[in-house]
Amino acid sequence: MKSSRQVIKISGESGQGVNSIGEVVAKGLKRCGFYSFGYREYPSLIKGGHAFHQIDFSDHPVSAPSRASNVLLCFSRVSFHAYLPTLTVGGQVIHMLDELEITEVEQKFIAEHKIKIYYLEAENIAREIGGRAIMANVVMVGALWKLLGLPIAPIENVVRQQFADKKDLVEANVACLNRGWKSDLGNLSPLTILFEKNNKREDDALLSGNHMLALGSVAAGVRAYFAYPMTPSSSILTYMADVYHETGILVKQLDDEISVAQFAIGANFAGTRALIATSGGGFDLMTETISLAGMTETPFVCILAQRPGPATGLPTWTAAGDLNLAIYAGHGELPRCVVAISDADSAYTLIQKAFNISEVYQIPTIVLTEKQIAESLFQVENLPADIPIERGLVTGASLDKLEAADRYKLTENGISPRWLPGESDATFVANSDEHLADGTLTEDPLLSEQMYAKRLRKLDTLHDALPEPVIIGPKDASVTMVSWGSVKNTICDVMDAWNELHPKDNFNLLLYEYIYPVKLKVLTGLIDKGQPLSLVENNATGQLGGLLSQHSGFQFEEKLLKYDGRPFFVDDIWEYLERRLTK
């Protein structure tokens, strides 16, 4: 498995362009016929500290990071010291740090791990050829390309494209790239890439999970985006604003998350589709509005982009610890839907489904993502199919026959007719107080109970309509992992290689994307036949496991939980399988 991918870590201070270089490298690899996945680690500050953009690449799709890298590209001293220990045995370093001091401990690590280090005078070269020190980054990319043994033309085209709007800089950057490519690399050994190039990858797109959520929402007819910045949701706001001339969507940053949630419910009540996104702390402030959406039966879709809490937690790191928050947020008992995306494709599809569910069932829908999906760079061949819009609105001649008391009419499936202000003479009140069918306030015990039960019936109706979780991998396996969110990508990245090596100790995955109301048929089928199950979650308490136990009575004995702010690396899953299956 190790030989089926190579890992490059591009590291420097925040503000040194680590991510831009990461994207350039990923584009270059794609043009050379590879698949790549870009994983980012960075601190919560603007300048300084240390950050990296790690690229795992292969001849087959990759969507999760490795723990260690084969190559380390260093733009700053701090990043050299921070990431040297993350190299594999035989790892190689290219740095641009004049008179780099290496500690004794580091010397020992270098010797033991047979690490090779090359110093490239990238800044001097950049000043000499390009006139600017910042072009050292491109010199370094040239040297990296030499180390990878890849042809210069594809990466040169990427650089030309990258600087297309700064014509005066194009030739200087290309010259820097070529100069880097001509470095002798000292005692470094060109990488042996054991896997084949697939030459059809050139037209693939490279984009983040947040980009795909934004694109999916535009496809779903979202016409307003309201937000208050909070990592890791902020890049949705940035992207929505960057393309708002193309989409015509109203994009507005507001003063706090309470306003954001209320603007959304106001715009949705008026009859458009408004999207909002935040992280856990912002979502906390929105929870009263979740309750209001449940009571007034107003559609409401919120993206909850998770990072580790509690409180400010680890602002720029990853976790999947807010499932319980999504399921239980808001006072009172109300019907809702909770879905969790797992990768770029499901981001695009599920956000569209979320709007249909929210409108047809007139309930809040929470779409969970994680920093690991939100900000990683996925390689995607094509957009998944669009989902036709379903609004569940009364339209046309039927609007004439409406009466105010139709709005919250008691129905068997819990769903009552919904229409928009300005569409019918039948006006009603959407009331946050308990109410009768036309919205009139009531405190009558029987009538209150009837309306309460009507709303909750929607949960049963929705439950019946939602798909069961899917099994990914072989139908029969020694172990089934049960998981949700970005963990899926790590598990899938490991699956084929592991199962090929260990056909008798193979595994598959039961993936929950539609999480609440909870679907149990497939799971209980596995439980009933005594299938060994392993719960894998990026949190400390196993929140999906808790939910499934609560509803099925089954207790997960085997759990792999991780809550250090890092995603599951492929090594984590591989080592777990070794412990669990081959001991």
């Binding site: 037209d203 693939d204 797109a205 984009l207 694109l215 535009v218 496809a219 007819g221 016409r223 307003a224 309201f226 393309v243 708002y244 001339h245 193309e246 989409t247 015509g248 109203l250 507005k252 507001l254 003063d255 309470i258 306003s259 209320q262 603007f263 419910i265 106001g266 715009a267 949705n268 009540f269 008026a270 009859g271 458009t272 589709r273 408004a274 009263e288 509005t289 209001l292 007034t296 957009l383 819009i389 039927s398 609007l399 004439d400 928009l420 202000p421 300005g422 569409e423 019918s424 003479d425 006006t427 009603f428 009140v429 959407a430 946050s432 107080d433 109410h435 036309d438 009139t440 306030l441």
Partner: protein, 298 residues
């Protein structure tokens, strides 16, 4: 097409806004007059119930949300302004009037008032300022006068009250008016001007509360109010003049349209990417191809 002509203004009648639900307010509550004046303003402007969205905060006034016609939303305490502003971004054809008390507006949701005025969202906002939290049985609000003994402040309120207009004028409003719950005609005129104004129209109603505000009852206001038309040389286009006549809330209280910026550009017309759109957000919900956007990532 369906027969409701919600799209066109036309003759409507006071009774169109009638509700069979029985009012639950105290006798002589200022809210009765406010409801009557809202209906009169809408009828005078030929706005039908189906062309309105009346948004209510939580409080005594909010308990009237099911006792008047029109599309209505009775939301959460302190949140009526962002709700109404959000609705106004989506559909500018329905007239949006939002109502809030001094508790929800100047306490719980005061940040939203700032947001609403600065953004100049196209809504009318009516502040029911009765100087206390009525529905929770008479606790002090941000406008209760210092020293007054209230529920939860038995020895008197220790803070200086907020002066609503001083606060409003500090935010650069495009419309600021004051009126009195004891004068239905004056309120109706003021509401009409507010509804017709493009942008955020702030209207403070000096509201009597016969149960909990014994310091400044109906008569107290009646003796002190003075319409701006009676104030010599008042120019409603001059914000500094408006600011200065608004200051006195003890002896001679100026009421009427204190300030109006006739060149007000509401929020929706300030959006660079939407300014030439003929449709509203509510008309635009359809599947949109994002292939081109996706291609830019290739």
């Amino acid at each position: 097409m369906h027969s409701c002509n919600c799209g066109d203004r036309g003759h409507s009648h006071f009774s169109d806004f009638f509700s069979e639900n029985i009012y639950t307010w105290c006798t002589n509550c200022g809210n009765y007059g406010i409801h009557a004046a809202v209906k009169r303003a809408l009828v005078d402007l030929e706005i039908k119930p189906c062309q309105t969205l009346l948004a209510f905060d939580i409080g005594c006034h909010g308990n009237g949300s099911d006792k008047i016609g029109g599309y209505r939303f009775h939301g959460l305490h302190g949140r009526v302004i962002p709700f109404a502003c959000g609705a106004s971004t989506a559909n500018s054809k329905v007239k949006i009037i939002a109502f809030g008390g001094d508790g929800g507006t100047l306490g719980e949701g005061i940040n939203h008032l700032v947001l609403g005025i600065r953004g100049n969202y196209d809504i009318t906002f009516v502040l029911h300022n009765n100087l206390n939290y009525g529905l929770t049985l008479g606790q002090p609000s941000a406008t209760t006068k210092q020293g007054v003994a209230m529920n939860a402040a038995p020895d008197g309120v220790t803070s200086e009250p907020i002066h609503p207009m001083k606060f409003i004028f500090s935010l650069g409003p495009t419309f600021a008016a004051r009126t009195f719950s004891g004068d239905v005609g004056h309120m109706a005129q003021t509401f009409k001007a507010a509804i017709e104004h493009p942008g955020f129209s702030f209207v403070e109603v000096l509201q009597s509360c016969p149960t909990y505000n014994l310091m400044t009852p109906h008569e107290w206001y009646q003796e002190r109010i003075k319409d701006v038309s009676q104030i010599k040389g008042h120019d409603a286009g001059d914000i500094s003049q408006a600011n200065s006549i608004a200051l006195d809330i003890e002896k001679e209280i100026a009421v009427g349209v204190l300030y109006q910026n006739k060149k007000s550009i509401p929020f929706n017309l300030r959006q660079a990417n939407r300014v030439n759109k003929k449709t509203a957000l509510v008309d635009e919900v359809k599947n949109l191809s994002v292939e081109k956007l996706f291609d830019s990532f290739r």
